[in-house]
C-alpha cells in the first residue's frame, strides 16, 4: 500500500475544471516533484490533500485512511503537513513560537491543564522546547540565532524556511512543499534542495511543487507533471526531461498549431 | 387596518432604506463600515428642525440644508479620519467611527440638550387611496425616497463621478491605475452617503414631529441592519431590506407587542448573517 493514494480527484469551479481526474501514488520515503505550467492545478491539489478544498469526485488516502472528507486540522493530525504558496507565517509570533505551535498535536495541555499546571505540563513544554531548538538547527544559522525574533522581521527567504520548520515540528509522515524556493537566488535554492533531501533522511515523505527545474530534477526521485488539471507524465526525472508532452505543455502547444 | 399598517411600514421603511443605502455606498466603494452614520442622520435632522421650527423655512429648503450640512460633515470626516488610514484594513476606521459617534452624540446632548424638540407639522391632511387612509405626508416621503434613489441611480450610471465610483467599488487599485482619482471618489462617496442619511433624518423629524440628540443611535444601527439584511453591497437590496424591516416592525407592533418593535431589525440581521451572510440580494462574498 502506498503512503499516499490519489484516485480520480476532480474539482470544478463554476464551469472551469481545475482538476480533471488526477491519480497517482506516493510511496513512503519518496520525494515526488509536482510540476506543470501556471494554472495546472498543483496548488489546488495540495488544497484538496490538506483539506482546504472539497473535491467533487475521487478520493485520497494516507496509509489507507480516507482523507477525502476530513477537516484540515484532522488531516494535519494524521501526519500531513504543508507549506503555502504565499508564505503564511504568524507575523507577530516569534520563530520559536512558530515551531512550538507546529508541535500542537504532540502536546496535550488543554484549558484545565493550562490553568492548574500539573507537573506533566512543564515536562511537555520542556520537551517541545528541546525538539524545537533541535529542529531550528537544521536550518544552519538562519533561524536558530533569530529564535526570539518575530516573523515579521524576517527576510522573505527566512520566512519560507520558518514555514518549513513549523511544518516539520509536527513530525509529519508526509510533507507538502508549495514552491519552497520561490523568490530565492540560485545559492539559496541549492541549499533548499539539500535541505529537502535532509528532510527525507529523517523519514519524511515529500511531495514538492516547484518551478525551479534544477531543484526539482536534483531533489526528486520521481516527477508528476500536471497540465490543465490532468496528469500528462509520471516518471523519473530523466524521462520527464526528454518528454515532448511536457515541453509542449510548458510552451503552449505551439508545435501542434504550427 | 392591516393595509394601513403596511403603508406605515413602507413609509418608515423607505427612511430606513435611505440610511441603509448610505452604508452600501460606503462599504461598496471604500470597503469600510461606519458607526458614525447615525449621528450624521441626527445632525441632518437637527438642521432640518432649526430650519423649520426656528427659521420657518419651507420643508424643501430644510431638507436641502440638512443634506448640505451632512455633505460638508461627510467631506470633513472622510478627510480627517479615513484618509490617514487607507491601508489599515477595516478595523481601525471602524474604531475611529465609534469614537466619532461618541463625540458627536455627546456634543449634541451638550449643545441641544437631551429632550425632544418639537418639529412643526407639514401636510396634515389624509386622503383615501384604494379604500385606506393615507396621509399626504406619507405619500410625500415615499415619493421623496423614491426620487432620491432614482437620482442616485442616475448619478451612478450616467455621470463621470458615478462611473468612477462604480469602478472604484469593483476594484479600487485597477480604478487608480486607470486614472481615477480614488481619493476624490472616496470623499464624494462618503459625503453622498452622509447627505442621504441626513435626508432620512430630516424626514423622520417631520414625520414624527420630533427630533432628539440620541435619535441617531438606533436609526444608524437599524439602517445598518437593513443594509446587511438586503446584502452589504447591493443598493436594491438595501432598499428592499429597509422596506421589509419597516413593514415587519409595524406588523409586530400591531400584532405582537410594541416593546419588541426594535428587535425586528436586529433579529432579521442576525438570522441573515447565520443563514445567508450575503443578504437577500448580495452577491456571494469574497473574503473580508
Amino acid at each position: 500500500m502506498s503512503l499516499l493514494e490519489i484516485r480520480g480527484v476532480n474539482v470544478r469551479f463554476g464551469g472551469v475544471t481545475a482538476l480533471g481526474g488526477v491519480s497517482f501514488d506516493v510511496e513512503e520515503g519518496e520525494i515526488v516533484g509536482l510540476i506543470g505550467p501556471n494554472g495546472a492545478g498543483k496548488t489546488t491539489l495540495f488544497n484538496c490533500l490538506s483539506g482546504f478544498q472539497p473535491v467533487d469526485a475521487g478520493r485520497m488516502a494516507l496509509a489507507g485512511i480516507e482523507l477525502t472528507h476530513l477537516r484540515p486540522h484532522e488531516i494535519a493530525a494524521l501526519g500531513i503537513a504543508r507549506t503555502f504558496q504565499t508564505s503564511r507565517v504568524f507575523r507577530r509570533m516569534t520563530v520559536l513560537e512558530h515551531v512550538l505551535v507546529g508541535r500542537h498535536r504532540h502536546q496535550r495541555a488543554g484549558f484545565w491543564a493550562a490553568v492548574a499546571r500539573p507537573g506533566w505540563v512543564a515536562r511537555e513544554e520542556a520537551e517541545s522546547l528541546a525538539r524545537a531548538r533541535d529542529l531550528l538547527g537544521l536550518f544552519e544559522d538562519r533561524l536558530l540565532p533569530r529564535m526570539s525574533d518575530v516573523a515579521d522581521s524576517l527576510s522573505y527567504a527566512n520566512r519560507r524556511r520558518l514555514e518549513i520548520a513549523r511544518a516539520l515540528a509536527g513530525e509529519p509522515r508526509l510533507l507538502l512543499l508549495d514552491e519552497p524556493t520561490a523568490g530565492m537566488n540560485p545559492h539559496e535554492s541549492a541549499a533548499m534542495a539539500r535541505l529537502i533531501r535532509n528532510i527525507r533522511e529523517r523519514g519524511i515523505t515529500i511531495l514538492l511543487i516547484e518551478h525551479d527545474m534544477k531543484v526539482v530534477m536534483s531533489a526528486s526521485d520521481r516527477i508528476v507533471v500536471l497540465d490543465h488539471g490532468e496528469t500528462i507524465a509520471d516518471g523519473p526525472p530523466e524521462s520527464i526531461r526528454g518528454s515532448e508532452a511536457v515541453v509542449e505543455a510548458y510552451m503552449g502547444r505551439r508545435r501542434a498549431n504550427a | 387596518m392591516l393595509l394601513s399598517q403596511v403603508v406605515n411600514g413602507l413609509t418608515q421603511g423607505s427612511l430606513y432604506a435611505l440610511v441603509a443605502i448610505g452604508f452600501v455606498i460606503i462599504f461598496g466603494t471604500m470597503n469600510l463600515v461606519t458607526f458614525a452614520h447615525g449621528e450624521v442622520y441626527m445632525i441632518g435632522a437637527f438642521v432640518g428642525y432649526f430650519a423649520l421650527s426656528v427659521y420657518h423655512l419651507p420643508w424643501g429648503v430644510a431638507l436641502l440644508l440638512g443634506m448640505a450640512a451632512a455633505w460638508i460633515l461627510g467631506v470633513l470626516i472622510e478627510k480627517m479620519a479615513f484618509r490617514p488610514l487607507r491601508t489599515a484594513g477595516h478595523m481601525p476606521p471602524l474604531l475611529i467611527t465609534i469614537g466619532l459617534s461618541i463625540i458627536l452624540k455627546d456634543l449634541a446632548v451638550i449643545v441641544f440638550g437631551a429632550e425632544n424638540r418639537p418639529v412643526p407639522s407639514v401636510y396634515e391632511t389624509t386622503i383615501r387611496v384604494g379604500g385606506i387612509s393615507v396621509s399626504v405626508l406619507q405619500l410625500v416621503i415615499l415619493a421623496l425616497a423614491g426620487a432620491l434613489v432614482l437620482a442616485l441611480q442616475l448619478l451612478l450610471k450616467a455621470t463621470k463621478i458615478g462611473r468612477a465610483m462604480r469602478a472604484t467599488a469593483q476594484d479600487h487599485e485597477a480604478a487608480y491605475a486607470m486614472g481615477v482619482n480614488v481619493n476624490r471618489v472616496f470623499n464624494v462617496a462618503f459625503a453622498l452617503a452622509s447627505s442621504l442619511g441626513a435626508a432620512a433624518g430630516v424626514m423622520v423629524g417631520i414625520y414624527y414631529n420630533t427630533v432628539y440628540a440620541t435619535m441617531g443611535a438606533t436609526a444608524g444601527l437599524k439602517g445598518f441592519a437593513a443594509c446587511i439584511f438586503g446584502g452589504l453591497t447591493s443598493l436594491p437590496g438595501a432598499v428592499l431590506g429597509g422596506l421589509i424591516i419597516g413593514v415587519v416592525e409595524n406588523l409586530t407592533v400591531q400584532f405582537i407587542a410594541s416593546g419588541y418593535r426594535d428587535v425586528v431589525a436586529f433579529l432579521l440581521m442576525v438570522l441573515v448573517l447565520l443563514l445567508r451572510p450575503q443578504g437577500l440580494l448580495g452577491r456571494k462574498l469574497r473574503a473580508v
Binding site: 505551535v101 500542537h104 484549558f111 493550562a114 490553568v115 | 491601508t87 465609534i98 469614537g99 451638550i110 448573517l273
Partner: protein
C-alpha cells in the same frame, strides 16, 4: 523588556509584587469612601477589559457584545440572590456559568463568520439581549430593574462597606488575571494567537480552530458574567440600561487605550479610563466627548495603546526586510 511582553511569574516577583502590595494598601492610606467606590468600579472594569482581551486581543475575534454578557451575569446574580436567596458564593460562579453558556450558544452558530461579520452578529446579539431584557418583564422586571440585591457576603459575613468590597474585587482581579495569564502562556494561548495571525495556517498545524475559538469566547464571557455579578452585589440594583452597546464601546475603548494582546494593557486601560474621568470632573459633561477623542487619538497615533502587543490594530504594510547573506556565502 517591553510592557506588552510582561507576564507576572515567580521569576519577576520583584517587579509586580510591590505593585500589588501598593494596590492592596490603598484603603489603608485613602480613607475616602468615594475613592474606594471608584476603585471598586475600576476593579470590575479590569475584569471586563481583560476578558474582552481574550477574544479581541489574543484570538483576534472582534466581539462587540461584551456588555450583553456583563448584563447577563449581573441579572443572573440579581435574580438568584433576590428570588432564590442564593448566597454570594454561589451567585458569582452561577452568573459566570450562565453567561458562558449563553456565550457558547451564540458562538457555535456564529464563529464560522469572520472579521466584520462576526462583529455585526455580536452587535445584533447585544441589541437583542438589551431589548429582550427590557421586555421580558416576568423575569427581569423590565425597565424597573431589580432592586435590593444583597451586598456580597463570605462565610456568613456581610461585606457591605467599600473597603471590604475593594479587597473582594481585588481578589477577583488577581484570580482573573492569574487564569488569563496561565492560558495565554500555554499551548492554548499559542493556539489563540496562531488563529489570530493566520487561521488557515493554524488549521494546517492541526489546531481545531473552530473549537479553540469557541473556547476563547466561553472564557471571555464567563469572566464578563463574573464581573456582572460583582457589579450587581456592589451597586445592589441592576437595570438593562447599564448594559447597552455604549457600555461595550466603553470596555472596548479601555482595551484599545491600554493595549490589546498583552496582560498589562487591559489593566492599565481600565484603571486609567475609570480614574481619569473621575479626576477630571472639571470637564463635566464633556467627559464623554473626551472619551471619543482619546479613542481616535490612540488609533491614529499609537494603535497598540499603552502596553499592547504591536501590530494587532495596525496598517499591515508589506515592508519585508532584505536578506543578509549567510556566513557560508562568499562575498563577491
Amino acid at each position: 523588556m517591553p510592557l506588552h511582553a510582561f507576564v507576572p511569574g515567580r521569576a519577576n516577583l520583584r517587579f509586580w509584587l510591590p505593585g500589588v502590595m501598593a494596590v492592596a494598601a490603598v484603603p489603608v492610606v485613602v480613607r475616602s469612601e468615594y475613592v474606594l467606590h471608584v476603585a471598586v468600579a475600576a476593579g470590575i472594569y479590569v475584569i471586563l477589559a481583560s476578558s474582552l482581551n481574550v477574544t479581541n486581543g489574543y484570538a483576534g475575534l472582534f466581539s462587540f457584545g461584551h456588555a450583553a454578557f456583563y448584563g447577563i451575569g449581573a441579572y443572573t446574580a440579581a435574580i438568584l440572590a433576590t428570588r432564590l436567596d442564593w448566597p454570594f458564593a454561589l451567585t458569582v460562579p452561577g452568573a459566570g456559568v450562565v453567561a458562558a453558556a449563553v456565550g457558547a450558544g451564540l458562538a457555535v452558530p456564529t464563529l464560522r463568520l469572520s472579521g466584520i461579520f462576526l462583529a455585526l452578529v455580536t452587535i445584533g446579539f447585544q441589541e437583542i439581549a438589551y431589548l429582550v431584557t427590557l421586555n421580558w418583564i416576568g423575569l427581569t422586571r423590565g425597565p424597573m430593574g431589580i432592586p435590593a440585591v444583597p451586598p456580597p457576603s463570605l462565610l456568613g459575613v456581610e461585606i457591605a462597606g467599600n473597603t471590604g468590597q475593594y479587597y473582594l474585587v481585588l481578589g477577583f482581579d488577581l484570580l482573573t488575571l492569574f487564569v488569563i495569564a496561565r492560558i495565554v502562556t500555554s499551548r492554548v494561548g499559542r493556539a489563540f494567537v496562531a488563529i489570530r495571525e493566520d487561521e488557515m495556517a493554524a488549521e494546517a498545524c492541526a489546531i481545531p480552530t473552530f473549537r479553540v475559538k469557541v473556547l476563547a469566547f466561553v472564557i471571555a464571557t464567563f469572566f464578563a458574567g463574573l464581573a456582572g455579578a460583582l457589579y450587581a452585589h456592589h451597586a445592589r440594583f441592576v437595570s438593562a440600561d447599564s448594559f447597552q452597546l455604549d457600555e461595550t464601546f466603553v470596555i472596548l475603548t479601555m482595551l484599545i487605550v491600554g493595549g490589546m494582546g498583552s496582560l498589562l494593557g487591559p489593566v492599565l486601560g481600565a484603571v486609567l479610563l475609570v480614574v481619569l474621568p473621575e479626576a477630571s470632573r472639571f470637564l463635566a459633561e464633556y467627559r464623554g466627548v473626551a472619551y471619543g477623542v482619546v479613542l481616535i487619538a490612540v488609533i491614529l497615533l499609537r494603535p497598540e495603546g499603552i502596553a499592547g502587543a504591536p501590530g494587532i490594530i495596525q496598517p499591515l504594510g508589506a515592508r519585508i526586510p532584505a536578506e543578509e547573506p549567510a556566513a557560508d556565502q562568499a562575498m563577491p
